[in-house]
Amino acid sequence: MPSTRPFRLFLILTLFFLLAGCDRQEKRPTYKIGYMICNSEIETGERFLPLTRYLSDKVGVDFVFVPVDTQEFEKRFKSGEFALTHTNSLLYVILKERYALELVASEKRGQFGTRTAGAIIARAGSGITRLEQIRGKKMAFGPMLAPTGYLAEYDLMLRSGIDPERDLAHYSIPSGSFKHEKVIYGVLHGKYDVAAAPILDLEVMAREGKIAPEEFVVLGQSPIVPYCTFGAARTTDPALVQKVQKALLELTPEATAELDGQRLKVLKAAGIDGFEQLLDKDYDPIRDMARRVKMPPYQEY
């Protein structure tokens, strides 16, 4: 058996390099991405866990998927918990104005690409065909921080001379998950007379065969505004942000990621068509609406 000094030295050095290599692999930097819960926590996970894994693979760091309730998002972001955020466009504006969140990429989904609109709908054949006729009616809105399920329609009503607080019989927001679908079904089944429905949800539900375009009438529609958005905290390394942005913009329908032993198509799982690089000024219509409706970040007490 060789027991010479060079041989021992060779063994020690080999062991050292092997261990050093292992160590480097285990200690990939970890960053949290805060995902605003869309319809439910489970649905958000199913949609965005493959995307999170894809980003980890592409960027060479470990991204952690963190589902966050919309109402808690700002508090948790403020505490410095997230390097990156995936939120709706109103939450992006709030975090941009208050904490200088940086725009990374905007989600593309549906007929308008990176944008969508809010609509006020009634059931076809209900006798309600014009926006003025919603006075004195029962109305349902989506969640309060939803840009095209609440803000856009509230603003549309104010601009049309209808005060939601005084001119409706009453309005409500359904409880629990899948609120947008609930308000649309609520109108079709006669629970509400009219509802605030995101055009994107109408599109998706029609495509899935859940509803037919002939079943409802659109009484009014808001301007088109950006939809879901990836942002980066001011403190996140700019080189990392750039890599994430590049990975998102280069995503194609063929891109896959492995999750629990399964190889999944990233965009298909997320139910989106891709990402684009919008400008912050593209979010100005959201800012204008929030100002008129006096919602965050411009609320008045």
Binding site: F112, A117, A206, P213, P223
Partner: protein
Amino acid sequence: MPKDTLDRALFALLLLSLAALPVVLAGEDSSAGRRGGDKAMERRMAYQARVELLRRVYAPVETLRDQGRLPEALLKLDQLARQYPQEAHGHILKGEILGRMGSLDQAVASYVQGVRLNADYVDDKSPLSRRSEIEKTAEEGVRAIGADLKLYPENRSLAAALKNVNYLRSRLAGGCE
């Protein structure tokens, strides 16, 4: 010169054949012309039938569009796109509606898809022509998207959108695919 009755008969037959030849040839020419004419007519009829079919299939969308019910028109169009995914007419109508709703980049992208599938939409002489609408959108695209790209030259989405605008301009100028 013919010497006997047979010679005279043969000579007469030859003269008759020579005299009849132009008539026979003219007859053949007119029959070939008729066949060519039939084909051209068939092509025209098929084209007109196609235009009529497109008008009928997309009539509900055009009605909604003309009533200003643009979101419903888009939803109806989306339904038809699942039945006829490769039909250029749907892409052109979508471009027109999206343009009216203020979604310039998406309008341009839809026009590009439509024109790639069928160049008749930029042909002045075609009954399907939407040349003036496409021209207007392309001009607006150069102005708006071009201005943004000057300010943000690194923006990849703006660069892709301007590439689409330039494709439309090239087709409008008579360029090929």
